[in-house]
């Protein structure tokens, strides 16, 4: 059952669309990084060593539209699948072969994993491409840097950037994966209560945007849900900001999913 659901979660047009949109969104973020003057050999020789590098390029690419589209990418692959199974009558066929609990567990895990990988896969591909395009190294000039490289500016694991930048980037991708899982499960839990698949897919994104805007308006931007996907968008983002944001959504949506599924089982 779980294997079947996992296959359905990863092999579908929604997942493919999420990966393609993710790559395009990361490329958009990179456009500002590349908006400088032409990199002639004469100019490059005057710049500090590793002024342009693969790590900074990846960090810049995260500061683009990917940060705002994250919740949408996470729900695209499989978050509306429970609603689809129910409305198409497919759920009855499944339940004739396995238990409802087994189905729910498989749905919950496969949706979470597909949402996580829908964000992590484009990020990983993009980082690999950056490693081919730009040199791998850290610019140590304290004044002529593309990013602010102090640990507090790069998020709760920012201290890895100077000594092990690869680990820093993989932690960013890992955080993106967890973000995707949480928002995919949020979408899944909404599908327990909402009957329109487009509303199910759009609601996590709309909630994310409203919360982000309101927190900025009330001068509390560090608490924005964006901090969990792009922990370097603002100076001073800590594990507390990320933990409360992601933990709160994860708990609320998991409870919503299990309560909603219980109500549906009782009704059935």
């Amino acid at each position: 059952m779980f294997r079947e659901e996992l296959k359905r979660a990863f092999i579908n047009y929604g997942f493919l669309a999420a990966v393609v949109i993710g790559l395009l969104a990361l490329s958009q973020g990179l456009s500002d990084y590349l908006s400088g003057p032409p990199m002639t050999s004469e100019y490059l020789s005057k710049l500090p060593l590793f002024y342009n590098n693969s790590y900074d390029a990846f960090i810049w690419s995260q500061r683009g539209i990917i940060g705002l589209l994250g919740p949408l990418l996470a729900v695209l692959p499989f978050s509306d699948s429970y609603l689809n199974d129910r409305t198409s009558g497919f759920l009855r066929n499944i339940l004739s072969r396995s238990s409802y609990k087994e189905y729910l567990f498989a749905k919950y895990c496969s949706t979470g994993l597909s949402g996580g990988f829908a964000i992590a896969i484009p990020m990983t591909i993009f980082f690999l491409v950056m490693n081919i395009v730009f040199p791998r190294g850290i610019n140590t000039n304290p004044y002529e840097l593309r990013i602010i490289s102090t640990p507090e500016a790069l998020g709760p694991f920012g201290y890895f950037y100077q000594n092990n930048p690869d680990l820093y980037i993989f932690l960013l991708i890992g955080l993106g994966c967890i973000f995707g899982m949480v928002y995919a499960i949020l979408g899944l839990s909404l599908s327990m209560f909402i009957e329109n698949r487009y509303v199910v897919l759009a609601t996590p994104f709309v909630l994310f945007m409203i919360t982000h805007y309101l927190l900025a308006l009330f001068r509390q931007p560090a608490w924005s849900p964006l901090s969990s996907l792009v922990p370097h968008w603002l100076i001073g983002i800590t594990w507390i900001h990320i933990g409360i944001s992601l933990g709160g959504i994860f708990l609320a949506s998991s409870m919503g999913f299990f309560l909603g599924s219980h109500a549906k089982e009782v009704r059935a």
Partner: protein
Amino acid sequence: MRFDKICMIDVSNKSREDFKKGEKMKMRSLVTGLIVIVLSVTLVGKAIAAGSFSTYNMTIPKLGGSNTTSNVTKVSSSDKAVVCSDQIGGGYTLNARIELLNGSVAAGYQSISNDQRREYTLNPSTAGSSYHARIATTIFIPVDVQATGWWSPDNPGSCGF
């Protein structure tokens, strides 16, 4: 005898020693004057050649919007420009780059925050006489942001923080 007579005519009532002292004094003041002139020219020239900072205090539009500082003429041959970011409202991180007056980019974006010095190597292929700095918000910032600081298309020295 002839020499003594001439000296007597030139210095009138002064003795020969007084005349020598006077000449020494004249030479001394001439040398001092020359040193003062050389030093002044060097120091003032250096100050002009290094340029000076121009302050900015502006509102940067939200959601990836940008604003430019006033235009400043480059006076030195240095290929460095400097942005001293003093205060940015809300503690946000912004991006700043150096442009020519026609908008072509002389040095690409670098992130800036409070109390931060950023140096830019100007591209020789885009060399011009006047420049401005462009400061932009990222797409994540949903409010207008106030930014203050000073900048120069030359390298006048320390930012003072």
